[in-house]
Amino acid sequence: MASTETEAQSATGSGGATGAGESAATAAAGPAGAAPGGPSGDLAGLEAGLDALDAAVADRQPWLRTVATKAFPPLIAVVIVLGLWQLAYHFALKPHYLLPSPVDVGRSLQEKWLEGTLLSFVWTSVSRGALGFLASVAIGTALGLVVAQVKVVRAAIGPILSGLQSLPSVAWVPAAIIWFGLSDATIYAVVLLGAVPSIANGLVSGVDQISPLYLRAGRTLGATGLAGVRHVLLPAALPGYLAGLKQGWAFSWRSLMAAELIVNAPDLGTGLGQLLEQGRELQDMSWVLAAILLILIVGIGIELLIFAPMERHVLRSRGLLMKG
């Protein structure tokens, strides 16, 4: 039962593109009209061809090459720095007690290692840092979520929260000492004040960057209220949130060192910051440099071992990571 017999028919036949504005369809026009809808096998074959042509090809580099391209450049940079340091020592730019050689610093580390105390110093600091960081994550996440979702709260404390990020957390140390004395509480207070704003801000900017499309799609699927937060909002905000966590860890670690340097009491246990302070009191430059090195290594190590793989995994699984 054909549907139309308008006077325009003959004039426009298969050249009907004048009106229809459908460019590609006319090219395929032909006798097919007589037998509409070819066998569905044809369609499946066409689809398979389209899918094969259009789908992204995922190839991963062999791990050996990855190691070669990723690990070598920083290694060479470290060797160059050590070389320059050794040269400076060799030509005695400063007296040796002010500028010890890399070997002296290594020996100082070895000494502590042989005493069996080195790992416990590192562990004291790392466990404090981790505990403080985890507490910051709990508080910062809740705070960030409230700031991101509740307009009044955002207007009230949003600017303060981002402003707090530029306040060096060492500035909190005197206040914390007055409140809590020379205690663990002081150290944790400083760590929290340093890390919570970063984490909360990371989450807020993560939420702000969510494409409105995902929120609409979530609502049409019935993800509202808590289900919406859990299934759409949080996963969609994850890249920004992870960036916030990474920065939060850096701030935790920094704040912890600042606190440990100043909050020095015999019953508190010796962390890396206290080790550094002891080196200064003894005027032992290689001890001081060894402590600085350890602080740096722990900071970089945690970033490389925990945060970098996490971030890579998230970005890669969303197709946001370009190889290059």
Binding site: M1, A2, S3, T4, E5, T6, A8, Q9, T12, G13, S14, G16, T18, G19, A20, G21, E22, S23, A24, A25, T26, A28, A29, G30, A32, G33, P36, G37, S40, L43, A44, L46, E47, L50, D51, L53, D54, A55, A56, A58, L213, Y214, R216, A217, R219, T220, L221, G222, A223, A227, H231, V232, P235, A236, L238, V314, S317, R318, G319, L320
Partner: protein, 267 residues
Amino acid sequence: MTTTTLTEQPAAADTGTAAPYAVRIDHVSKAFGRPGAQQHVLDDISIDVAPGEFVCLLGASGCGKSTLLNLVAGLDAPSAGGIETPGGRPALMFQEHALFPWLTAGRNIELALRLRGLPRAERRTEAERLLELVRLSGAYGKRVHELSGGMRQRVAMARALAQDSRLLLMDEPFAALDAITRDVLHDELTRIWRETGLSVLFVTHNVREAVRLAERVVLLSSRPGRIAHEWRVDIPQPRRIEDAAVADLSVEITEQLRGEIRRHGQH
């Protein structure tokens, strides 16, 4: 010779179901902005979509067709009039696939199943079944970015079907695809519509697409959007977009659409 234009509502196909329509849009108007300086986007729109019917809403840019779809989806509320969807919350497909990139294709579908309340044990099987329905059986574990544009829209269709709504709203879902892929997806949509017996309300600005797919084409005028004309499309399915009958009706509708657009240049 049969007539193709028809302005009265179609007789509700009485299949014995409780409601004679899948959606009733009843004298709906929508205006944005504050009182006094309001912009009227939709003006007194009434459309019934019968159970199992495929209706295309056609109009130029800015005619408010997407706004109307948002109202039906419950994402926004009309300024006047009412919308009834007896089958509950309708499923909605967008021009962008809107799949969640943090989930695999299969998990995207399972999330819709979970939010609909399907027990965990049945989700995997149901997701596989839906993927098979859109001919993507192998795509369960694929990430969204690993799929082509056409495959993404097919997964999006499977996710929309996972909501198990009797009404499927589609907002120019194929507009961003190349012509061949779009043609393939037209066939798929027609097949799925006939297999499932869903009611479909499909928004597009593409006249041929509307005639290719719909049983009824509703033309909206722009600013404010009003129903300008309505056609019943009696060309038997499966149709091809290059069929002479499709082309002829497209020409007729395009003429009307041009007329509507021209009117706006005259003020």
